[in-house]
């Protein structure tokens, strides 16, 4: 919500305070303090315990004695490869779907509606179910085994709804004048799409991309039975590779004495995610503000 929009809300400016609001105010402030406290506690804890082990060699070195010693080099590489596969598979399909839903079909029509509904359901499917599905389809049925490819493709199914939603928003945010002018100039719809709409919708597409990466990076349950546990440096996409999130899980649950490296890995992962999600919300804010100003 833009600050400009909220300025008209008299209740946000300290007005409208009346008798009997004491309880509500106390409850609201208490709740906010609790939430801020929990967030601060978690972040502080991860930073305090994770900072000590963080160094360049931790990021580059191989995993030793199941993760108690050494670094997370191969795990970072596997994570990036899984992300790469995920994006390569999801972006073309996601972009095409977003274009179709936003530009070429009636959103509530006989084609748009079922596609949208099924994407909404897809967005709600629990990640462990994606894991089961990925294991059955990619690992076993398609014979890819526990591999970076299987993991990446499973994640691709998972990030599709997120990416499509944002990309579609990007297209819907392009003012209609652009389409009308293009039509008046006799552009074909393909030409309009590629030379006008696509460049104009780039911010939304990019935000979708960033949020998708964030979701994929945070995922664990869908990867355990698709990309597997192996902590060696992957040599090909058909090798099993352990993601950062699985490394944290394994260190904290299955490796006695792995806690300190689990903390450091968690710090690396949280740091990456905060950077990624921060970029996304900064971008979409900037983009919204620009839109407010040009209209």
């Amino acid at each position: 919500m833009s600050p400009a929009r909220r300025a008209g809300n008299v209740y946000a400016r300290g007005l409208g305070r009346g008798k009997g609001d004491g309880f509500l105010s106390t409850a609201v402030w208490l709740a906010v303090a609790l939430v801020v406290g929990a967030f601060g506690w978690l972040l502080f804890d991860v930073v305090r315990h994770g900072m000590g082990g963080l160094s360049l060699s931790f990021l580059l070195d191989g995993v030793e004695s199941s993760g108690r010693a050494g670094g997370i080099g191969p795990i970072l590489v596997s994570t990036l490869l899984i992300l790469g596969v995920c994006l390569l598979a999801s972006v073309p399909f996601g972009l095409a779907t977003a274009v179709l839903l936003a530009e070429f079909t009636d959103a509530e029509g006989s084609f748009g509606r079922p596609v949208r509904r099924s994407l909404d359901v897809l967005a709600g499917v629990p990640s462990i179910v994606f894991g089961l599905f990925g294991n059955a389809l990619f690992c076993i049925y398609l014979g890819m085994g526990f591999s970076i490819l299987s993991g990446g493709l499973t994640l691709a199914c998972m990030v599709l709804p997120i990416f499509i939603r944002e990309a579609e928003e990007g297209f819907r945010a392009v003012p209609d004048e652009h389409r009308l002018s293009a039509a008046a100039l006799g552009f074909t719809r393909s030409r309009t799409l590629f030379s006008i709409l696509l460049p104009a919708a780039l911010p939304g597409i990019f935000v979708g991309l960033v949020l998708g990466v964030g979701r994929a990076l945070a995922e664990t349950a869908a990867l355990i039975f698709t990309s597997g546990y192996v902590d060696r440096m992957p040599e090909s996409l058909l090798d099993s590779g352990r993601s950062l999130s699985i490394h944290i899980y394994d260190l904290s649950m299955n490796v006695a004495g792995g806690e300190s490296n689990a903390y450091t890995t968690a710090l690396v992962l949280v740091g990456m995610l905060l950077a990624i999600n921060g970029t996304a919300s900064w971008l979409s804010d900037r983009w919204v503000r620009k839109r407010w100003m040009t209209h």
Binding site: P3, G18, V32, L42, D120, A136, A218
Partner: protein, 289 residues
């Protein structure tokens, strides 16, 4: 005419791609049914009537009672919803009706970041911080309570962000009218804002429920994973999702198939929640606030 042929083929390609992405859900559903078929056929009602959960690949050798884990899942979900919903609503009220624009924006940004923290990190934090704390009150520490607390922090952002935008969408004129009538904040919220935003609030709560039901890693790490019907908040439990994650690695035959039955059940519940939410939202939009 030939220049329009490009358009036709472009739209055909887009339709094909969209049909593919749209059918991913169907594909998942088909695979789950396909993989769980043998257990459904062999076990049927035994998922609720068997004496315990001691699965084996041969159905005649094992017992397959899923009820304790279903109860565990429902208890953890219900508990976390009870805690997270008021906190999330208060957060959204804070952003829209208490804080000045700048602190509100800051708080909103914090909630967004909270939403982006991976579940495995929440689980890890719960394991090393919350579980030892709970152990001091009553051993063993890894318990339903730990699961509820971690889930609460995890689903709070989902509900809070949806509620925030629902409150933000309440027409300004409603608030001005309410202020002109001299209504207090409490009355305005209870009688004007919440009814006007009910569709968004309902969506938020449903999304949160879906997220809590389907969460795996965090509950797997803090709940203790003992298959039992919990008698108190301090009892360890195992949820349906954690069960899949724990046993999938070595499950064979009908045991593996039984895990897919669990997955299928979860998927059906979540799909029902999503479709119900959308139907409700649609009806409320048509009727108007």
């Amino acid at each position: 005419m030939s220049r329009w042929v490009g358009d036709r083929s472009l739209i055909a390609c887009l339709r094909l791609a969209a049909a593919t992405t749209g059918s991913v859900v169907l594909l998942i559903f088909v695979f789950l049914v396909f993989e769980s078929w043998s257990a459904l056929e062999a076990l049927g009602l035994r998922f609720v009537t068997d004496s315990s959960w001691h699965p084996a690949s041969d159905p005649s050798e094992g017992t397959f009672n899923l009820t304790p884990m279903l109860v565990g899942t429902l208890a953890a979900t219900a508990g976390s919803m009870l805690l997270a919903t008021p906190l999330a609503l208060a957060s959204a009220v804070f952003c829209n009706f208490y804080a000045a624009p700048r602190p509100a924006q800051l708080y909103r940004r914090m909630i967004e970041l909270l939403a982006g923290i991976p579940s495995v990190v929440y689980g890890f934090w719960g394991l090393v911080v919350l579980v030892p704390l709970i152990r001091q009150i009553e051993p063993p520490g890894a318990s339903l309570l730990a699961g509820i607390l971690v889930l609460t922090i995890m689903i709070l952002p989902t509900i809070a962000l949806t509620a925030d935008s629902a409150f933000g969408a309440v027409p300004e004129s409603y608030l001005q009218a309410s202020a002109a009538l001299g209504l207090s904040r409490t009355t305005t919220l209870a009688a004007v804002v919440v009814p006007a935003a009910r569709s968004g609030l309902f969506t938020g709560v449903m999304l949160g429920t879906g997220r809590a039901l389907g969460e795996t890693m965090a509950v797997l790490m803090v709940c203790g994973n003992v298959v039992q019907t919990p008698a108190s908040l301090f009892d360890p439990i195992r949820t349906l999702t954690a069960n899949i994650a724990l046993e999938m690695a070595y499950a064979l035959g009908d045991h593996r198939s039984a895990l897919f039955v669990t997955g299928l059940a979860l998927m059906c519940i979540v799909a029902a929640l999503v479709l119900l939410t959308e139907a409700a939202a649609e009806r409320w939009t048509v009727e108007g606030p």
